[in-house]
Symmetry: C2
Subunit: 362 residues, 2 copies
């Protein structure tokens, strides 16, 4: 909407230039194959549904009562599943909210926050929002992080691992190098996609007092519809996050979300099975795309990042959409010839491959 | 927890002095009579439960998909119920989140935000959090707002109406006076409790381009457990809120909360009936307390603010707690001889009265 100068006088000056994050499209059209927002193709554990039913059937009346502002039951379930103490757990309304609190709690410093040029595109948005100074460090030509680049004065470092949208994972030894060379600033590893084959840095939080690891239930736990994310760190860092959270919103996670997420963390077997299914489908999808001539970056995520030399990626995305398949295309420097494609079920992936083979690349 | 100076170096300097909001206690003990957080004593509309069942039964699979980031369906239901256009509606994860976004969007100005000395205690917290300059204006001796006090240079005004914890309502003509004398700053009317007998300023948003009215589903709609709040204003103000929201968290309201809140807004008859029940119970409770010697401020909310000359309010709160009844006590200047008591069912209110009569004031 067009805002006049006169209307703009009501806005806080600091928000007049904001460039908000734009999430992947959530189309309301039926029958589209949605491979654009890295959702899990499988439903959550049946125990999740049962837990919500439990809230409804036994005590529908509790909806009138505020949820536990600390979501202790959820913290306990996460702590148990991740083998940490409850005092190491912070929870929020999706990992986006957890990340927002992280930026406010740790990164508003004199020195700049370091992050990669190609990574989660919400980082520059949070930075502008909270007035965080930033220094953007380019990935190398293979779209990998060069750890040595991060050995410079900074007010914090944030790394998505596996990275998005590149899908490439960084090993724990590289993360330890980063931690050791930056003992005075907070290092955040954003592990939204870690459960699909990368190594989590969570156990390193026991050794390093400046490490925060952030995860979400939206991808590997199939709970994007519910909005639960969390961070793991030593208590002096968790306390900062709680202080920020309690200065913003006392009760960010509702009763259904708490019950559902607890049930998910308690069903480890289902979780592992579903992650493995996605990993297996990913490997098949990559093979099929390579056979069609795509170059695909080595993925440890539930999506792949792929390019085709002979075809413009933007055009390819548009043509796929005409055939009812949505993938994510970023019209940005360095990556504007790539498509980010969420791994679907084998049947969904086959539809993508068939469409490419029979309708587009003919 | 005690944070050492060494650990504190990791915190952003701006958050080291934060004094977070402390919500009313959510005890995990059974059988306590909870009259401390202004929850509705009645459950939400049965249609709310049916709506959540509908999400689960028909399409449990949708939990894996992100919710609509704009929650359009919810905006439509609110717009219809409030007789405004969808473009006048902003929704958030509880009205606390809506208020946080309001502070960031409108109140970070050169001139100070004006608010009352006795009002929602989250306002100073948001102000510190976002760096909002403030000027606190005392209520008069009857705990009422003096509209003339607000005729001074300001960067915004926020008023809880009915006020909390005093329960006293301001009339629409006083609010129009405020709007007319402050055409260049945003005036926010926080109507968390308006449905229990006060007049809403929502229709004034059509006439005034600087008015934002904020409401919640937590009190009159019995949905505190779900976290849905909203604001109504002209589109140039809503756009500012959307810009802030989309720089913080794209998907703040989950699928269950959207479905449940929509069902609540669509069941106007249930809503009106339940509000009237609370109002009727309030009048009985006030009469009974006055009979016991309490002075009770004139309430238009689902709580009352009461004092007893011959008994210290802090002690009284402690004694009530020993008898299994929790009320809210604020150990703050001017109001430390008052108790804020949520209106319960007639049976709950009777338990309070009986306990006072038979066990405490004997």
């Amino acid at each position: 909407m067009k805002i006049t100068t006169e209307q703009m006088r009501f806005w806080s000056p600091s928000i007049r230039e904001l460039e908000p994050y734009i999430p992947g499209e959530q189309p309301k059209i039926q029958n589209l194959l949605k491979l654009n927002t890295n959702e899990n193709p499988y439903p959550p554990s049946p125990k999740v549904v049962a837990a919500v039913q439990g809230v409804l059937e036994n005590t529908a009346d509790v909806l009138r009562l505020y949820p536990d502002p600390d979501a202790s039951e959820l913290k306990r379930a996460i702590a148990q599943q991740q083998n940490v103490d409850m005092s190491n757990v912070f929870v929020g309304n999706g990992s986006d909210e957890v990340l927002a609190h992280i930026f406010k709690a740790f990164f508003v410093q004199d020195l700049p926050l370091l992050y990669a040029d190609i990574t989660y595109s919400f980082y520059p948005v949070y930075s502008q929002f909270f007035g965080v100074k930033t220094k953007v460090l380019p990935l190398n030509d293979g779209f990998e992080i060069e750890v040595d680049d991060y050995k410079q004065a900074n007010g914090g470092i944030i790394i998505t691992n596996p990275n998005a949208p590149t899908s490439i994972a960084l090993g724990l030894s590289a993360i330890e190098q980063l931690l050791q060379s930056n003992p005075n600033s907070v290092i955040v590893i954003d592990e939204a996609y870690v459960d699909f084959g990368a190594e989590s840095a969570i156990q390193l939080t026991k050794k390093y007092d400046n490490l925060v690891v952030c995860q979400t239930t939206s991808k590997s736990r199939s709970l994007a519809g519910l909005r639960v994310g969390f961070a793991i760190a030593q208590p002096h860092l968790i306390t900062a996050l709680e202080s920020v959270k309690n200065s913003f919103n006392s009760y960010p996670i509702d009763r259904f979300a708490i019950a559902a997420a607890v049930a998910s963390f308690e069903d480890q077997a289902y979780f592992e099975t579903q992650c493995q299914r996605v990993i297996d489908s990913r490997e098949n999808l990559v093979n099929d795309l390579v056979e069609l001539g795509f170059k695909v970056l080595p993925s440890k995520a539930n999506f792949i990042f792929a390019t085709l030399v002979e075809k413009d990626a933007g055009e390819l995305a548009a043509e796929l959409r005409e055939h009812g398949i949505i993938v994510r295309y970023f019209n940005k420097p360095r990556i504007n010839q790539y498509l980010r494609i969420t791994v679907g079920t084998d049947e969904q992936n086959q539809r993508l491959i068939d469409t490419l083979k029979n309708n587009i690349l003919v």
